[in-house]
Symmetry: D2
Subunit: 310 residues, 4 copies
Amino acid sequence: MTAQVPLGDPSDPIEEQRAQSSQTRRATVPAMEDLLYLRHDVLDHGFVRVVDYMGDDAAIVQAARVSYGAGTKKARDDSGLIRYLMRHWHSTPFEMCEIKLHVKLPVFVARQWIRHRTANVNEYSARYSILDREFYIPAPEHLAAQSTTNNQGRGDTLDGEEAARVLDLLRDDATRSYDHYEEMLSQDGQRGLARELARMNLPANIYTQWYWKTDLHNLFHFLRLRADAHAQYEIRTYADTICGIVAQWVPAAYAAFEDYRMNGASLSGPALDCLRRMLAGEQVTKDDSGMSAGEWREFEALIRAKGQEG
Amino acid sequence: MTAQVPLGDPSDPIEEQRAQSSQTRRATVPAMEDLLYLRHDVLDHGFVRVVDYMGDDAAIVQAARVSYGAGTKKARDDSGLIRYLMRHWHSTPFEMCEIKLHVKLPVFVARQWIRHRTANVNEYSARYSILDREFYIPAPEHLAAQSTTNNQGRGDTLDGEEAARVLDLLRDDATRSYDHYEEMLSQDGQRGLARELARMNLPANIYTQWYWKTDLHNLFHFLRLRADAHAQYEIRTYADTICGIVAQWVPAAYAAFEDYRMNGASLSGPALDCLRRMLAGEQVTKDDSGMSAGEWREFEALIRAKGQEG
Amino acid sequence: MTAQVPLGDPSDPIEEQRAQSSQTRRATVPAMEDLLYLRHDVLDHGFVRVVDYMGDDAAIVQAARVSYGAGTKKARDDSGLIRYLMRHWHSTPFEMCEIKLHVKLPVFVARQWIRHRTANVNEYSARYSILDREFYIPAPEHLAAQSTTNNQGRGDTLDGEEAARVLDLLRDDATRSYDHYEEMLSQDGQRGLARELARMNLPANIYTQWYWKTDLHNLFHFLRLRADAHAQYEIRTYADTICGIVAQWVPAAYAAFEDYRMNGASLSGPALDCLRRMLAGEQVTKDDSGMSAGEWREFEALIRAKGQEG
Amino acid sequence: MTAQVPLGDPSDPIEEQRAQSSQTRRATVPAMEDLLYLRHDVLDHGFVRVVDYMGDDAAIVQAARVSYGAGTKKARDDSGLIRYLMRHWHSTPFEMCEIKLHVKLPVFVARQWIRHRTANVNEYSARYSILDREFYIPAPEHLAAQSTTNNQGRGDTLDGEEAARVLDLLRDDATRSYDHYEEMLSQDGQRGLARELARMNLPANIYTQWYWKTDLHNLFHFLRLRADAHAQYEIRTYADTICGIVAQWVPAAYAAFEDYRMNGASLSGPALDCLRRMLAGEQVTKDDSGMSAGEWREFEALIRAKGQEG
């Protein structure tokens, strides 16, 4: 039964990896050492594991000081300098940190993820090897209906009966497709279809896995887009898990990222003009804002004080 | 019926695009104008269409002469210079040409293709839109068995009965998965599952499409790997089709690419040493070659005169 | 005299290039055809010339519609869709346009420029060829003193006497360095130093030139940073010139870029909170803003109504 | 005197960096630990220092096995698998190793180096800071004349008198340019020219420095081109130094790189045909080789047995 055979390297389990320990002169982050190689579960069968990392908050500062010279030294502490770099889009010092993750994820999530091109990837190959019998089946509370106001997003959750019907279809089709995948590969008295062909029968919720390595600047870009409320829930859970890891790896950089990217916003020139007029006491309406209906709606949502939302 | 609605832009058909004509001062290749926007059929439902191109053989030469100065001018004609650049891995002049293709292809081919990172891509989004009911079903002569000597490759073709069984499985599962995809999306008295979720039920042989834009250097790299005999047949047919297009677009560069990349080979230091000894009359065997069994096998296959193969 | 020999290709002057004209089915922009190959003068000896371009505003829309499907068709006209893409950081459709420029620029500007990695470059090679006797000497009104408040920027303009002294030094050293460059290369009765070595005597204000090709998304990123008020004046003049070109090439995309990037701003989470409190009538000071002194200064400058600045 | 103030971070000297030591679970290479942070001197004032590294030979194997599955496990030991990957251009597993270097180098070398785009760079900024008074002056044995047979390369070494004249010019001009740089910056009773402007007076042999981080695949590509006999001597010495480091870091990968890249060669289709005919006993001459004069010359040089060269 292939289903019981784990993908990857069965003779190199996590405990064996964690047992190794060496002295190093490299920048080291104790919190990362604690979680190295451990699985962070995501979705029903997925995970994220940190396999390696390079650098820490101090490495960002060190690189910035090579660039900007001793002048950066006096006035600021490290955290202040990191915030300055983030605020002014000085991205190269963040590129001096690197992380390598082992990720197990459904194929349709992998297809979104891979669109981030500035990363190194080694994916499990279904040309060479046989995929495991593992599929993503959403939890009922994540079975969202198509949004009626938005081409892209999700609307309400399906109710019990419709949800049950959908889950049955997903489970049955995955099971049957995998059964037939195995049948096509089977070599009992037959030659068996080539793996690279048989895989075409497998649905997009089957799990794959890869090693994924990227620098901190590009990782922040990924997280900015994929931990965002508009990202599809399934990839967002991976991004959220990675956010939790990065917060431990480079706490000062992550705090700056949260303030300036995740919790910040970009305003257009017309939006800034409106703001200035509003702060000067003027009443500004959509019609004299110079913005389209969509822009005005987004602008209003952004500036409304949180306590006033209800 | 979504199945009849073509993906892409139905109001902008090929003939309409081809009817437009303008004067331009830009480098123009008549052979490319002839084939612009036309579909080159690939596999059972796929295609490649040239949507735009920039540059020609002369543009490569022009860029090389900016770099290498007037010295490149005297001694060589354009084709000779292009061959020199290709032979000596001067890749930047080839980057001065760019091509934009519209490609329709099965998802499992798209997954291999996207690993070439240095390109621009806009793919049809199954978050926003509903995919068509179109699946790749291999022709019987491409139903290869798993190779018994090679993890990766294909072996012989399946025989009639086994082939028929496989084709039935592929067709039935695709049909059923798509039926259920439609059922899940259906909104008759129900809200319908979000598109971004329903798509997870679709198998890897469903067709997707994208605009793909890359420069000639990176295109050659793609073709070198994907038009190679070791590439999976399905992506190789796309690469072969693109080879035919590039041969018309930049004939001198393509001829150099064929001679130095497609029909050429890389030899290791030990292999070169063996060659020199053999040319000096020495009998060299695997055991005194300094090569492993695998290397020696590949070396022998490479240097054996074609007439002697039988 | 090398000084009179123009860099580049003397037999292929601009008028000859402009005289060529062909029919094409490709997307064509009349305003770009008018300026193709023409020199836009920059600084004292530099220039920017458009050598080729691919795509137009409609090509951005076309790519977006492949991605986002027919749903993007109904509600919006092209300009509205382009603004939506820019606002929501959907960058891939902008990558479907490409431009190739011929640029002549001082070496110290080229060194900043090349840090933008996602571009194709062919630079005039001082290993193969002899550089011209042309140096950037600033106009007196651009001879700025070191800023006393800012490590990076410029302060006031030098006054007449100090300016004259600086200009004399720059001119004399450039002339002498170039004289010696020629002497070292000279082969009268001697073998002459290799060009790749002799060039090391030349100062950073000597002019070089290159072909530079990039896509519109990366070009906007370049312009965002280099047409910014904080960029060094010398590279900013190149960026400003290119802005003028792009405004003619893709007017809708450029207008969106101006509104959302050039004239827009990013606000941090704490800054947004302050804004919401201020709009709700609260008096917010630096001390209860949650911002550092530097952030507060930048925030105040941003939101102060322009009429109130004095 | 700025000249005595070292670039970079004076309070963070090498010994202090080397004194730090931590426990880590990450892949660790004892030979790299021994040389971490130490200066490898290059040219007269330059150096290369390893600041950090990620991965080792086993990390390449580990990534390959994620991709190619358990099948790669049985037949081969690690070194054999690494050689297979290198031979068949499977580059992604090599991207799983990363190295960060601190390099001090002349500006004209930096200008060649930076053309390798797939790397992260933080360079000392002459906008913010004052450059040191340090220039590359070649050793007399590296003062090569321009080659008379080759646009690019160097010919014989200059003889004593001409060499002396060249060295005097280089030294005098560098000294004078730097004196004037300081004068322009000087603020005694004057405001002093902005640093970003004053630097334009400095010649291309002044030293700069940067942090440079790249993955092993791209590093091999850099070394393949820059440790090559056709590379300019000055950058080649840096590449040679880095080769020595990489040989200690990933000895199996480096040995494969040497065999397949550094000591190997690419042969064109026509060259392979000639080889096959020659091995079958045929006498092949340039005229019936199908090769140009240049290709035939390179081909003959490649296949001639080393003992026969005289």
